[in-house]
């Protein structure tokens, strides 16, 4: 990744069950994406996890990572989104 900001926000939303964090973390580890921060809550009965991930040394590009997470999310039964941190920076801060 040659982008100046290689940080990605990964969000996971779905019905709570055992092992969600482990499985998402596994996928990230397999692709050499480094987890910088995790926060997790239950919002209105929904498991909601937000991860900040550094993909500087990631084996796949952003599009590839999104796809991999999408597939894993479907297997687990949760919705996983990955967005560049820039998007949030731009939308919520001047």
């Amino acid at each position: 990744m040659s982008q100046e900001n290689s940080r990605v926000v990964v969000t996971v939303v779905g019905k709570d069950k055992v092992g969600i964090i482990a499985r998402v973390a596994n996928v990230l580890a397999e692709n050499d994406a480094n987890i910088l921060d995790i926060s997790q809550t239950i919002m209105q009965d929904f498991f909601t996890m937000i991860m900040i991930v550094d993909i500087q040394n990631c084996k796949v590009d952003m599009a590839g990572l999104k796809e991999t997470l999408d597939v894993e999310g479907e297997k687990i039964g949760v919705k996983i989104s990955a967005q560049r941190e820039d998007v949030f920076q731009y939308m919520h801060r001047i």
Binding site: V13, S81, V87, Y90, M91, H92, R93
Partner: protein, 455 residues
């Protein structure tokens, strides 16, 4: 490890994109074709085709890359070019359909959704080239798929060219007739403007103005669904506070647009022009400007109070957007096309929304009577009179107004027409039964209003 945002902010963004149809409606590359003039139509065809194919070679690819990289849908990739009438003055021909073919072929070659600029600016008078272009419009729109055409017939500074208004009524009728096998689809790609902006990225009215650089990237944001959701989550609150919430939302939507525009410009090595802050509806359920107005507490769009609600919405969108981007341009306001907005369609079908109310609404929002289907038997002079009314609103209020009207051949009030895709579906609207032909037959020029004397 500093996270710069709260969880709520992060989830809000995700929700906007995944549940509320937040998207970038269009990345439009403006391309100057001034270098393409020649006496020979064959040479002009080749020059136009080559110039567009070369400059826009990577437009679609880069658009898709950004879409994938940032996870923000970019619905359309489009091209706008120098008004064709301005570059063909020296061309030895009396029909410009070949140039429309060149645009169409080049657009298909680079894979864009639409190409705009089969246009003429005739607000004060017509050159020979302008008139050839206008008279070529019906044929050009019937033999091409992606070409959009626009004609500017008035400005606040120049007044209204009523000879051109009269001619455009006939051209619209002829265009409908020539595309009658598709219910007059050609007219959906033809806009008549007053005070046309030179950097509008939205179709069908986009062209690359004469004050623009060689190539430029303009972005049109969308997001009626996001605004509608904010309005619906806040029932009963006073309008001043609601306006603030809409403003905050418009700010965020516009930031997305600017991010995409700057990134596209960087990757294509083309200067970034403007973000157009328009709320552009799509036929998708929930992506409707009418929904926002109804969310404010109106039973159906078009009822009393609609103009006030729209005025507030339009203003709040502009205020939020103007803070979010340094370069705001184009049309920038709420669009109220009928066929492209499920809520507007319902308003017409249930009788709450008439063409007269729509005309009033166009006084307080961007654009004008947009994607209106009317009976096929409508006289050319009546269409001209509708154009004149809209142009007058634009001229006096120093704003852009436009008419995109489809006299659907063989259809009448009570029937509807389906154009498909982003163009949607339109019920045929009722017009006045009374005649305007003597007024239109006068021709001439409505003088520039006193508002023009600003120097």
């Amino acid at each position: 490890m500093p996270i710069g945002f709260s969880n709520e902010e992060i989830m809000q963004t995700i929700k906007m994109i995944e549940a509320e149809n937040l998207d970038v409606r269009t990345i439009t590359m403006g391309i100057s074709l001034l270098e393409c003039s020649d006496e020979s139509p064959e040479k002009v065809y080749q020059k136009i085709y080559d110039t567009i194919s070369r400059r826009a070679e990577n437009l679609v690819k880069v658009g898709e890359e950004i879409e994938r990289d940032y996870g923000i849908p970019i619905i359309n990739k489009r091209i706008s070019v120098t008004p064709i009438a301005n570059i063909l003055g020296s061309c030895k021909t009396d029909n410009y359909t070949f140039a429309a073919k060149a645009l169409d072929d080049a657009a298909k070659n680079v894979g864009v959704n639409f190409i705009g600029g089969f246009s003429a600016l005739v607000h004060k008078g017509m050159t020979r080239s302008d008139e050839i272009l206008i008279r070529s419009i019906p044929e050009a729109l019937s033999v091409t798929d992606l070409v959009c055409s626009s004609v500017n017939i008035g400005t606040t500074k120049a007044g209204i060219n009523m000879d051109a208004v009269r001619l455009m009524g006939e051209i619209i009728k002829d265009t409908a007739e020539r595309t009658k096998d598709k219910d007059g689809l050609g007219c959906a790609k033809l806009v008549v403007f007053c005070n046309v902006p030179e950097d509008n990225p939205f179709m069908a009215g986009a062209f690359h103005g004469v004050g623009e650089p060689e190539t430029v990237i303009n972005v049109g944001v969308s997001g009626p669904g996001v605004v509608a959701s904010v309005v619906k989550q806040n029932p009963g609150i006073p309008l001043g506070i609601l306006a603030r919430k809409i403003k905050e939302t418009a700010f965020k939507i516009t930031r997305m647009g600017e991010l995409v525009g700057i990134e596209a410009g960087k990757r294509l090595n083309v200067p970034f022009g403007i973000v157009d802050l328009s709320l552009a509806p799509t036929p998708a359920i929930g992506d409707s400007v009418a929904d926002i107005l109804e969310g404010m507490g109106l039973e159906r769009v078009g009822t009393h109070g609609t103009t006030a609600a729209l005025a507030m919405l339009n203003d709040a969108v502009k205020k939020g957007g103007a803070m979010a981007s340094s370069y705001v341009g184009g049309l920038s306001g709420a669009f109220i096309p009928v066929s492209e907005d499920a809520g507007m369609i319902r308003g017409v079908e249930e009788g709450s929304l008439s063409i007269d109310k729509m005309e009033a609404m166009t006084c307080v929002c961007s654009v004008g009577l947009d994607m209106i289907a009317v009976p096929g038997k409508t006289k050319a002079s009546t269409i001209s009179a509708i154009i004149a009314d809209e142009a007058a609103i634009g001229m006096i209020n120093k704003k852009t107004t436009a008419v995109r009207i489809i006299p659907v051949p063989g259809k009448d009030v009570g029937e509807s027409v389906v154009f498909g895709g982003l163009l949607g579906r339109a019920p045929i609207m009722k017009l006045s039964d009374f005649d305007s032909s003597e007024f239109i037959a006068r021709g001439g020029r409505i003088p520039a209003p006193i508002q023009a004397l600003t120097n």
